[in-house]
């Protein structure tokens, strides 16, 4: 287990557990929890709370034949395939988003590459590949941005982030992450709104790069 120092906020874990997080953020939460027992314990604690509320509800009668149908199909319904397993630096949830294949990197310039994993109205998730000592272009964002380090490390105005660490950046943060010397930094990044790069990629091109 890595020594993770930057964790997910409790409310985000709670929102995941309650089913209220969009796809992109759910992916980061699942990937971070794979790498962080502290947040896994928080998640399972939130699930215990959820289980209590769930159990305390007033029951709603189900159709009279539902039980018989379930009992009859217990051993006949095939189990759905499990999520792909963790592979190398990529947690299983990321492997699932990659459809079990290696990332298909696209060059952004300056040695930086990205692989978009998902992109919808609720936000986007992508992998970023940043060579050592290269800066990710200065950018702000409209909403929240989560960045989880999978390999290498980066540092910005708010601190240093190594494998397993997650940075939670609000709209107010204009930050300039710089990959540290050594192995290229590979991150899983997710936003609930499109990124605005203040330089580097002309705004016009942003829809094409989907960033």
């Amino acid at each position: 287990m890595n020594t993770v120092t930057h964790h997910l906020p409790d409310w985000m874990i709670r929102a995941y557990v309650a089913g209220g997080l969009g796809r992109a953020f759910s992916l980061v939460v699942a990937a971070h929890v794979t790498l962080c027992d502290e947040c896994r314990a928080q998640m399972e604690g939130e699930e215990a709370s959820g289980g209590i509320v769930f159990e305390d509800q007033r029951p709603e009668a189900v159709a009279v034949d539902l039980k018989a149908r379930v009992m009859a199909s217990l051993d006949t319904v095939p189990a759905s395939p499990a999520q792909p397993a963790q592979q190398g630096i990529y947690p299983g949830a990321v492997m699932a988003a990659l459809k079990g294949r290696a990332p298909r990197w696209r060059t952004l310039g300056g040695g930086i590459r990205q692989a978009v994993l998902s992109h919808d109205a609720e936000g986007s998730a992508r992998l970023l590949y940043i060579p050592g000592r290269v800066a990710v272009p200065d950018h702000g964002h409209k909403g929240l941005e989560l960045t989880l380090v999978l390999q290498g490390s980066f540092a910005d105005e708010t601190g240093r982030f190594a494998v397993g660490d997650v940075e939670v950046a609000g709209a107010e943060l204009e930050h300039q992450p710089i990959a540290e010397q050594g192995a290229p930094c590979i991150c899983l990044a997710a936003t609930d709104a499109p990124l605005r790069f203040s330089s580097f990629v002309p705004r016009l091109l942003q829809p094409i790069f989907r960033i």
């Binding site: 409310w11 939460v29 769930f54 949830a93």
Partner: protein
Amino acid sequence: MPVKPAPPGTSDAPMDAPSVQTLWLLAVRDHRDRAAFGQLFDFYAPRIKSMLMRGGMSAAAVEDIVQDAMIKVWQRAEQFDPTRAPASAWIYRIARNRQIEVLRRERRPLPDDLISGDEASDPDAADIIGLQQDANHLRAALHRLPQDQRIMIEQAFLGELTHSEIRDATGLALGTIKSRIRLALERLRHDLRTLR
């Protein structure tokens, strides 16, 4: 495991026993006990339905999810670890996963499992009882909250709040349950390391 079950879903359950639901789930896990599964169905299926009906789906669509979720309970029982989750929490998670899968038409991203191999040390009944005690404390704490806070927490976990509403609401203080789960995870990591 010679422990007396607590009555289902009550806040005044004895503090020294796993819930009867957890015992049923263990009977399913360890003995593929269909009668115990029937008990789990009778208790949880109407609660899964109750939770999902809040989302505005039709009763028929909800019952399809109830059916799928209960079958998954049967299929995945071997993954149930009573030192980390009471039955209620584990089934709550399965129902949520299935609901999201149906609503979004895609798999929910899940943390990789941490499952002990067969060789791993058998959990102590005391750990299971400890977790149940923590869960009972959590339930008591929820019941002590002012009504508006309690309702908000219920709405959050039953899927009625957006993530920004959850961010702004206070959560339930987890108390000792988190550190107990943390210890169980450490033990599991240790067992997995010795296995390799």
